[in-house]
Each structure stands twice: as structure tokens, then as C-alpha cells.
């Protein structure tokens, strides 16, 4: 068929297409909403915390949009793009690659719960120059000289350094004397090891604590008898217990009670949020948890009362964990960066995050909303949470506490 026979010439088609493309471009220049990526595990082992992060993000977006969106950009709304990063490092990396390749309109992202996922994901986002905020607290995340990762939690090492003096102070205030001896029962997952390592190396000694039992186990435990027996015979003033898997927490706590060490007879301190997750109540009786302390990077604290109430009623969650509150806060940080940048592109947002000086932090404990050269939040603090009557509440630091800490007296 000759070209001229065709009533609609190729040129007409081309012109039409160009017109269409041009008008689309015009429309695209004024986006209906600015997209923020949320790359978290929604399937597999870590789906539950991933979903809680999603709830935090959704709530923040609703609040931001209800308050007029990004004002510097004419009140444009924020939108959430949720991507499942699965339950392995490889899946997380693939998901990150998919996010940067197919969602080129993202201005920033939040992710990816587990620090090993965050490490893998940021390898991709760094190369794509996409700013990423994370609540993961492994020191290594911000030790690689990356320019596009922003860590809102205190790092594991910083947390361990802050936590011990706080605990010592608390004990001394309650009992009148400093604890002398400590037992450690930890599993061998990345986060637990990262917390325990600096303690063993120097922090225990620096705080005048003598390590009398030091046990590392591989989850899941089949039986906690031998572990708890060692604690019983050593009778330490403190027990540091770092589980990641809830069933392990259950076994050890129940065994402690069985041996008459529970409910604070040996004050038990954990690190990380595993022991304060709502799931705990499904397997462990609240009285066994009574008094258990845990040091976490973030938790719903004083000033969040309305937020916590809304979160509880909206998502039928019993309380607001680090995953919810930090992600909620992350979204506000991104919103503020957009206001400062005045442009909806990732390079400007990254610059705004680096130069941001957001004053005292509202949704993270301690410090400011400002990042240092490594991407760590300046002055990032932590919270100490205690199980009281079936609910883990923030008890330290005093200015953030929602309840008085209870220290068991022998």
C-alpha cells in the first residue's frame, strides 16, 4: 500500500501525538500530588511491623493534606506509594531497584524496617540520588559515606551508650544503691549483637557493672531452663535480655517466673522493640511482663496523646510503637524539606534535608530535626519503655515520660 493512499497521513498522526505529549507534559509539570515512597516489608516474617509503618505514614499524609498540603508548592497534596520489600535482603534490593526504575516521580522515600534491608535498599537509592529516611539504627547505615540516607534514630552504639547511665540512674534512685552485677542473655541477630558488643567491650565497665552471666543463643529457643538457671545461680542485680523472636521472649520470661525471678525480682532490661510489640500479649500473660524495661529508639511519648488516641482508634492498635511514630515523623520531615526546597524534585529535597534546621524534635526523642554530614540526626536520643499493667509506656527520659518508672524492690 502506497503511503499517499492513506487518508490519515503519517504526519498528521505525528502531529497529534506531539500535541498529546505536550499537553501531558504541561499537566505533569503541575502534579496533582507529590509522591513519597514507602518501602517496607508487607509480606513474610516482618509484615506486621511493615504494616504499622504504613499506618504511621498514611496518618501523617492525611494530617499534612488536611492542613493544606505543601504550601510552598501551592498547597499540592502528598501521596504515598507503598512498595513491599519482602522478607529477604535480595527481595528488598530488587524492590528498591523497581522503585527507582519505575517510579521516577518520587521525591523521597522511607524504609525499610530491618537494618539489613535498609543497607541493601540504600545501596540502590544512593546510586539513584533518591533521599531515604530510615528508622533502622545500625551504625553501618550511615558509615558508608552516603549522601542520600538520613537516619532519624540514634545509632545502636549511641543508644547503648545513652541507655546504660539512664538505667543506672533509675536503679539508684529507686533502691538507693548502684547495681554491681549484670547478666546478659541475647540472641545472635544483627541488631542484638550490635547492641551487646559495645557493652561487653567497654560500656559495662564504664558504668561499673560486672558481667556475671553472658549467654548468646540462636532463635528460636526450644527451652530456656539452662539459661535461666545460670541467671538464678549468679543472682545478678540486673538482667539484660535481648530477644528478637517473641516466642523466645515468652520462654525466658515464663521460666523466670517459674524460678521465682520474675516480676522484677531480678530487674529485666531489654533493648529494641521486640519485647514491647503488641504481639507479646498474645502469648505472654501481662503479669509476667510487668516491670520489664526496654530501651528503644522511639516510642509514643508525652505530647503525642492525641496522636496515640487517633492511632489506636483508627487502626485498632493497643499503643503506638516506634514503627508508627517514627514513620509518622519521617513524613513531616519530608514535608518540611519540600517547603524549604520549594521544588518537587529529589535533588532539591535532598539538599533541603541536608541543610534543614528544624529545631527541637517533636516526633523523635531528644535532639533536633537536623542531620550531620553522615546523615545522622543531631542529638538523637532514645526512650525507655516499661510494661505497666499490660501496656508498655514511656518512662524515661523524664521530660517525655507518660508514667513514673517502677523499680522493683527486693
Amino acid at each position: 500500500m502506497a503511503e499517499s493512499d492513506n487518508p490519515i497521513s503519517r504526519r498528521t498522526l505525528l502531529a497529534g501525538a506531539t500535541l498529546g505529549l505536550a499537553s501531558w507534559r504541561l499537566w505533569a509539570a503541575q502534579p496533582a500530588e507529590i509522591k513519597v515512597g514507602l518501602l517496607v516489608p508487607l509480606s513474610g516474617l516482618y509484615a506486621r511491623p511493615g504494616n504499622v509503618m504504613r499506618h504511621g505514614a498514611e496518618m501523617a499524609i492525611d494530617h499534612i493534606n488536611a492542613q493544606g498540603g505543601v504550601k510552598a508548592l501551592g498547597g499540592v497534596r502528598l501521596g504515598l506509594s507503598v512498595i513491599d520489600c519482602g522478607d529477604t535482603t535480595e527481595k528488598a534490593k530488587n524492590a528498591a531497584q523497581r522503585m527507582v526504575a519505575q517510579q521516577t516521580d518520587l521525591v523521597a522515600a522511607i524504609g525499610a524496617y530491618l537494618s539489613s534491608f535498609t543497607l541493601a535498599v540504600t545501596e540502590v537509592t544512593e546510586r539513584a540520588s533518591l533521599p531515604l529516611l530510615t528508622l533502622s539504627y545500625a551504625d553501618s547505615i550511615t558509615d558508608r559515606g552516603f549522601k542520600y540516607v538520613f537516619q532519624t534514630s540514634a545509632t545502636a552504639q549511641a543508644q547503648a551508650e545513652q541507655a546504660l547511665p539512664e538505667i543506672m540512674k533509675l536503679a539508684q534512685a529507686a533502691t538507693g544503691k548502684r547495681p554491681q552485677t549484670v547478666a546478659i542473655i541475647t540472641d545472635n541477630t544483627g541488631a542484638s549483637i550490635a547492641s551487646v558488643k559495645p557493652m561487653r567491650e567497654r560500656l559495662l565497665a564504664a558504668n561499673g557493672l560486672k558481667l556475671v552471666v553472658d549467654e548468646t543463643f540462636t532463635p528460636p529457643l526450644a527451652d530456656a531452663t539452662s539459661l535461666v538457671q545460670k541467671v538464678r545461680s549468679a543472682r545478678p542485680d540486673l538482667l539484660f535480655f535481648l530477644p528478637t523472636v517473641i516466642s523466645d521472649a515468652k520462654l525466658v520470661l515464663e521460666k523466670m517466673n517459674e524460678f521465682g525471678l520474675g516480676q522484677g525480682r531480678i530487674p529485666t532490661v531489654s533493648f529494641g522493640i521486640a519485647i514491647a510489640e503488641p504481639d507479646m500479649l498474645q502469648t505472654v500473660a501481662p503479669e509476667f511482663l510487668q516491670g520489664v524495661l526496654t530501651c528503644v529508639a522511639n516510642w509514643g511519648f508525652k505530647g503525642h496523646e492525641a496522636l496515640i488516641a487517633e492511632f489506636k482508634s483508627r487502626y485498632k492498635e493497643p499503643w503506638m510503637t516506634q514503627n508508627a511514630i517514627s514513620t509518622y515523623g519521617d513524613m513531616w520531615v519530608i514535608k518540611n524539606a519540600l517547603e524549604a526546597a520549594g521544588k518537587a524534585d529529589r535533588a532539591s529535597v535532598a539538599t533541603a534535608l541536608r541543610t534543614m534546621n528544624g529545631g527541637p524534635s517533636k516526633y523523635y526523642p531528644g535532639g533536633e530535626v537536623r542531620f550531620d554530614a553522615k546523615g545522622r540526626r543531631v542529638g538523637a536520643g532514645m526512650t525507655v519503655v516499661q510494661w505497666q499493667s499490660g501496656i508498655p509506656v514511656t518512662v524515661m527520659p523524664p521530660q517525655l515520660a507518660m508514667a513514673q518508672p517502677v523499680w522493683p524492690k527486693k
Partner: protein, 591 residues
């Protein structure tokens, strides 16, 4: 009748060319990553296939090698600042060493025990790496000299590098498949005992296979670390990694170079598409669908897609008239057999057995058996069920070690030697229960037995062809063993034993399961072999056939020699009749 008439490397190169072309046309970095990962898992599947696919020893622990490679790359770069260009070959080297170390103790185990033991290695190493504090190790970005450290902005380079590794592994696999190495492995898979009897040093070949397999797995693991950028013990030593190798290979087809490739090309993108498409909407459903897809394929094509497709293709093609020809050419052996004249036994002793005994937890399976086998003679070994006939053979060819007694072959003491050593020394045997390599042609089945005497593959082929000719199967040498009749299979097994050019041939119930006409034909072949100078010991139940065939009888009962002598006297011996028929009949012996 061959499926691939063109050189086997051609389809591999063709696949690589198409894959490269597709890869070069993709600019989306995510799709490019998928292209790379398909190749990574295909190579890993091939490494698994090299050991488990060909030897049948299922490894649940290939992650051990994979992880060693991955950690070689990250730790080597972090602590010694070595470039991955060198670390990948180094990783392969470490993997090979690990294979050797793992194989040495583990190959003492059989079947399921081997699989379970293999499962333990990566799990153990996983904890070691966690204990060492390598929970999360990331490859440092080299902003100054990215290419020297294998860091490319363009994902296509990774795909092409992986493609080079795949082509290399695939061609190596194909080369091995065709060589003595591959046939030895296949023989081990079908029947390790038979392989030993055919002169294959199974332990040595298995060790070579796991070394090579470990090296390849480790090499691709080292490359994978570059793509993944962050290495955690779970991501390289975890159960899922070992399972990935099994999944792609079993899905695509075991024991062929195409299996892991087909498996990876389908499964890796499928898993990703499901993850991407459904992961954020119905979290978890991707795993369910992926699992169901695998179950469906395994049910429809239990040996993998490749074999299913090949079987369908083969069925479509009509059989050439070879079948008819085969029947005709195979015919003469039976009819013409009685005409063969045999040089009588020379009186020179080739095999001498003295006081051979073996007991199993109190049961004396063989006790104090002594006899001599003269060159060119046919010795019939008979006796009721459980008399110890097969045990005697197992002692003679080395499957079992005698508790007492000696075996002399051609004047050399061969007592307690390994089967492959005895085969090399000149003892060939067939088995009561046939173990043909069903997916291989007659010629390929027989060649397995030929390697023990042949220095080159070419020589082995000649020996095999000669052996096939001698049993009269020349016309159907290209047929698959699966298509043969029982008689043809018996003859093929005979040829396999003959291909090692044995001095003494031990035949264990070679006539079992044959009709009288067929049995006649096989007896004809045995006679002809004897006429050609092979010394034969044969176990058989049917007395009638034996009387016509053998020079002497050795009668066993309860593990001991009852009578030894000429056929006429043995068949009349009351003790023999009693052993076979019971006391009541013994009195009738002379009537």
C-alpha cells in the same frame, strides 16, 4: 534418531546471543537487574546440577559454596582492598577447596543421609559468620575507580558478565556430559554399585564433581555479592538459597544443561512479577501462587519441563524402521548358537577361591567356599533361594569384604579389593536386578563399562561398539534403553560388562524373566562369548538350560559348597535333590 543433530554448543551460543540482544535493548535498571539475576540463578542451578543432577546425590546445602564466594568478595574488598575481578576466581578456588573438604567425609553417606548431611554445612557456616560479626556487610562504593572494582553505572555490563559465566558453565557442563566424567557421574546416579562393578572409581569421580560444582557455585556467589551489594549470612547461606538451586534445576529439568536455564528464565521473573504486582496489594499471595506454580509443574512434569517437552517431541516423531531391522539382526544369535564350537577348558586356573567366608550378624551367608575356575570354562553356580549365590558374587567383585579366605585372579591375590579395582583387574559382572540407564542410548549405556580399559574417549567408543556387536545389538545401538525389551536389556547389560574386556564374567541370573525362546537366544550369546575365550561363572535357577550350557556345577546350600562336579553327576546327586526338593525326594534320585 538423535534429537540434536547439530553440535550441542550451538543452541547454548544461540541462547546467549538472543539473551544479550534483549539485555542490550533494555534501559530500565530494574528489568536489567532481573536479567542479571536470571543468569546468576541459572549458573547456580547448573552448579547444583553438575553434582546432584548427574550423580543423583541430592545436595540441600549448595548455599555453603555460594556463601563462601559471596563473603570472599565482600571481605576481600573490605579488608584487603582486592578487586572483585580477582576475588571472583579466588572465590571459585575457595569453593572448590570447600567442595573437596565437604565431599571427603560426606560421600561416605548414601542417599537421604547425604542430603541431610549437606543441609547441615551452610547452616553451620551461617552461624559461624554471625558469630564472627558479619551480620550485614556492604561493599564499599569506589567513586574514584569504579571499573577497576567492577562497579558499573550501566546494569547491562553486569548482565553481560553474568552471561559470560553462564556460557562458560553451560559449555563446561556439556563437555563433561559427553566425556568419561559425565558418564561416570550418570552411572553413579543410576546405580552406584553397578558403576563400581563397571570399573568406575565412584568416590574419586564424586569428589571431582563436588569440587567443580563447589567452585562454580562459589564463583557465581562471588559475582552475586557485587550485584546484591549487601551480604548477610541469611541472604547467601540461608535455606532459601540452597532451595533456589534445587527449584530452578528441578523445575527446568535435572541432568541436562537446559534444566536450570529454563527454570531460572521462567521462575525468577515470575517470582518478581508476582512480588511487584501483588506484593503491596495482597501481601503474601505471591508466595502462594509461586508455590502452586511449582507444585503444578512438578505434578505434570516430575523430571522437569525439559524432559517433558523432549518426551512429547519424541513421541510425535514416528519411529524409523530400525525396530524391524533390529529384530532381524538380533535374531541369528539364538538360532545359530548351538553351532558354535568351543575350545574346551584349558586346565589353567584363572580364578581361585580358598575358604571364603562372610557372615551377617550371625548368619553365615557364605562359609568356607573354595573352588577353581579354569580359563574358558563355564561354571554354573546353583542352589536354592538364600543359598548365598549372590553374596558369593558380591565377595568376588568386591561389593563385600570377606571375613576369611582369599581370592586369586590370574595368580594375584585380590582379596578384599574395591569393586572398581577388581573390574580393572578383569572381573566383570551383571546384576540380577537390571539397572539400565533408561534415558541413555544402548551405545551410551555400554560405553560406561568401557572406560576402565580405554585411555581415550575414542578408544572407549570402539570397545563399546565391539561389545555391542558381540552380543548382537549393533542394529539398535542408537535406541534409548527405555525402548528395549527385557531380552535386549539383558544383552545390553552383558555388553556393558563385556566392554571392560573382562577375564572372568560373573552373570547373575541373566536369564531371569525371559521366555524359553528368548532364554535360548541369550544362552546362544553366552556360548559364543565362551567360544571367544571369555571365562564365565553364571548363577541360574533353571536347571535345564544350565545343564546344556555349563562345563561344571558348583552347588551351594546354606552358604557352603554342597557338591562340585560335572553336570551329569551333580544333577543326580541326592544331596542336591534334597537341597532343592526336600528329603522326601532324595530317595528317588537314582530311579
Amino acid at each position: 534418531m538423535k534429537l540434536f543433530t547439530l553440535k550441542p554448543s550451538v543452541p547454548v551460543l544461540l541462547f546467549a546471543a538472543v539473551f544479550a540482544a534483549v539485555s542490550l535493548s533494555i534501559t530500565n535498571s530494574y528489568y536489567q537487574l532481573m536479567m542479571t539475576l536470571v543468569l546468576v540463578w541459572a549458573v547456580f542451578g547448573l552448579s547444583w546440577n553438575l553434582l546432584s543432577g548427574y550423580t543423583g546425590l541430592i545436595s540441600f546445602g549448595h548455599a555453603a559454596f555460594f556463601g563462601i564466594g559471596a563473603y570472599t568478595t565482600v571481605l576481600g574488598q573490605i579488608y584487603f582492598d582486592i578487586t572483585p575481578w580477582l576475588l571472583i576466581p579466588m572465590g571459585a578456588l575457595f569453593g572448590g577447596l570447600a567442595g573437596l573438604l565437604v565431599g571427603f567425609p560426606t560421600f561416605r553417606l548414601q542417599g537421604h543421609y547425604f542430603a541431610l548431611a549437606m543441609l547441615a554445612y551452610p547452616l553451620a557456616i551461617l552461624y559461624v559468620f554471625e558469630w564472627l560479626g558479619f551480620q550485614e556487610v556492604s561493599l564499599p562504593i569506589k567513586r574514584e575507580s569504579p571499573i577497576a572494582y567492577m562497579q558499573f553505572a550501566d546494569g547491562r555490563v553486569y548482565t553481560l558478565l553474568a552471561l559470560v559465566l553462564l556460557v562458560g558453565t553451560a559449555l563446561l557442563t556439556q563437555y563433561i556430559e559427553r566425556s568419561r566424567f559425565g558418564r561416570a557421574l550418570l552411572a553413579i546416579k543410576q546405580n552406584a554399585a553397578a558403576a563400581e562393578a563397571a570399573g568406575i572409581n565412584t568416590f574419586a569421580w564424586k569428589l571431582r564433581a563436588i569440587t567443580l560444582s563447589g567452585a562454580i557455585a562459589s564463583g557465581i556467589g562471588a559475582f552475586y555479592a557485587i550485584v546484591l551489594l549487601v551480604v548477610t549470612p541469611q541472604s547467601v547461606f540461608g535455606m532459601l538459597v540452597s532451595a533456589q538451586a534445587l527449584t530452578v534445576a528441578m523445575f527446568g529439568g535435572i541432568g541436562t544443561v537446559w534444566g536450570p536455564i529454563i527454570g531460572a528464565v521462567i521462575l525468577i521473573p515470575l517470582a518478581e512479577v508476582l512480588q511487584a504486582g501483588l506484593g503491596s496489594r495482597l501481601p503474601g499471595i505471591q508466595g502462594v501462587i509461586f508455590g502452586l506454580a511449582i507444585i503444578a509443574v512438578v505434578l505434570i512434569a516430575p523430571e522437569g519441563l525439559f524432559w517433558k517437552i523432549r518426551d512429547v517431541v519424541r513421541k510425535r516423531r514416528p519411529h524409523a524402521p530400525v525396530v524391524v531391522e533390529a529384530a532381524e539382526t538380533a535374531g541369528p544369535v539364538g538360532a545359530a548358537a548351538p553351532a558354535f564350537e568351543r575350545t574346551p577348558a584349558t586346565g589353567e586356573v584363572i580364578l581361585e577361591v580358598r575358604g571364603l567366608s562372610r557372615s551377617f550378624s550371625g548368619l553365615n551367608a557364605v562359609q568356607e567356599v573354595s573352588f577353581q575356575l579354569q580359563r574358558n570354562a563355564i561354571l554354573g553356580i546353583i542352589g536354592p533361594n538364600g543359598a548365598g549365590k549372590t553374596t558369593l558374587f558380591n565377595l568376588l567383585n568386591g561389593f563385600l569384604r570377606p571375613d576369611a579366605g582369599t581370592v586369586w585372579l590370574d595368580g594375584r591375590d585380590m582379596t578384599g579389593r574395591k569393586p572398581h579395582e577388581l573390574c580393572e583387574a578383569g572381573i566383570g559382572r551383571t546384576f540380577q536386578v537390571m539397572r539400565p540407564f533408561l534415558r541413555m542410548s544402548v551405545a551410551d549405556n555400554v560405553i560406561v563399562g568401557a572406560f576402565v580399559r580405554a585411555k581415550t574417549d575414542q578408544e572407549a567408543r570402539q570397545h563399546a561398539a565391539a561389545a555391542i556387536e558381540r552380543v548382537g545389538l549393533a542394529a539398535i545401538a542408537d535406541r534409548l534403553a527405555a525402548e528395549l525389551t527385557t531380552k535386549e536389556l539383558r544383552l545390553m547389560e552383558l555388553a556393558r560388562a563385556l566392554a571392560s574386556q573382562p577375564k572372568v564374567l560373573l552373570l547373575d541370573e541373566t536369564l531371569a524373566g525371559l521366555g524359553s525362546q528368548e532364554a535360548e537366544e541369550v544362552v546362544g550369546v553366552i556360548r559364543r562369548l565362551a567360544a571367544e575365550g571369555v571365562t564365565i561363572a553364571i548363577i541360574e535357577h533353571t536347571m535345564q538350560t544350565m545343564v546344556k550350557l555349563v562345563d561344571r556345577f558348583l552347588v551351594l546350600d546354606h552358604g557352603a559348597v554342597l557338591v562340585e562336579g560335572l553336570p551329569e553327576s551333580v544333577t543326580r546327586d541326592p544331596r542336591v535333590i534334597e537341597a532343592y526338593l526336600g528329603k522326601k525326594w532324595a530317595g528317588h534320585a537314582d530311579h
